[in-house]
């Protein structure tokens, strides 16, 4: 079955991203396919490559990158939400004249249409948030 996942909170502050990750992992193990994980609101902060959590703690952004790499999952940060919160990829960096980008591997920035599309094209859309 084709699943879409919406993550509305950033890493660590709320359990949302943890729950979404463990759900995605279990869904894959059960033979389902994750069509897309869409990160909205503070959820875009999951896509940073600049985090350094304590060594004995999970690395939330890296964990998403690795899952996406292994299972070819589309990780999308909402562009409008990302602009408000300072999540930047190389294109956005140029477009908004910033001097750095901070997006992690396997994440991409795109529009809200990608969320609507996930709603239309998947069998189930599940939301994790605050």
């Amino acid at each position: 079955m084709l699943f879409g996942i919406l993550v509305n909170e950033g890493p660590y502050q709320h359990q949302a991203s943890d729950s979404a990750y463990l759900f995605a992992q279990a869904a894959i193990e059960e033979g389902h396919t994750i069509f897309r994980v869409f990160f909205y609101h503070d959820g875009v902060n999951n896509g940073t490559r600049l985090a350094t959590p304590p060594q004995d703690d999970r690395h939330i952004p890296n964990r998403w990158s690795e899952l996406a790499e292994k299972h070819n999952i589309d990780l999308v940060l909402c562009v409008a939400a990302a602009q408000r919160r300072g999540m930047v990829d190389p294109d956005e960096m140029k477009r908004n004249k910033k001097d750095a980008d901070n997006i992690a591997s396997k994440f991409r920035i795109s529009g809200l249409g990608q969320l609507i599309e996930a709603g239309v094209q998947t069998d189930r859309l599940i939301t994790f948030g605050d």
Partner: protein, 100 residues
Amino acid sequence: MLHTVNKSPFEKNSLETCLRLIEDNSTLLLIEDAVYGALKNTNIEEKILNAQTNIKLYVLGPDLKARGLDKNSLITNIEIIDYKGFVKLVAENEKIQNWL
């Protein structure tokens, strides 16, 4: 239809609203801080017991365990499932409503 709630019913109104707007014969899964709603001897126990006459209740085991709770802490007839069980519920039910 599958409903999920992730908030403590002692702190927020999500579970209460869910119970007001959930159809009979639906499935309700409590995750994250909402698992506290499944505790026995609380001041919301009666609401849960009433709800159980019309809906089937599940709690997410990993979240329960994280909070120091187990089967003995809970109201009876609440099923404890793991993430695979969560995925199965989502697959089995055509629609999902997440009360945040």
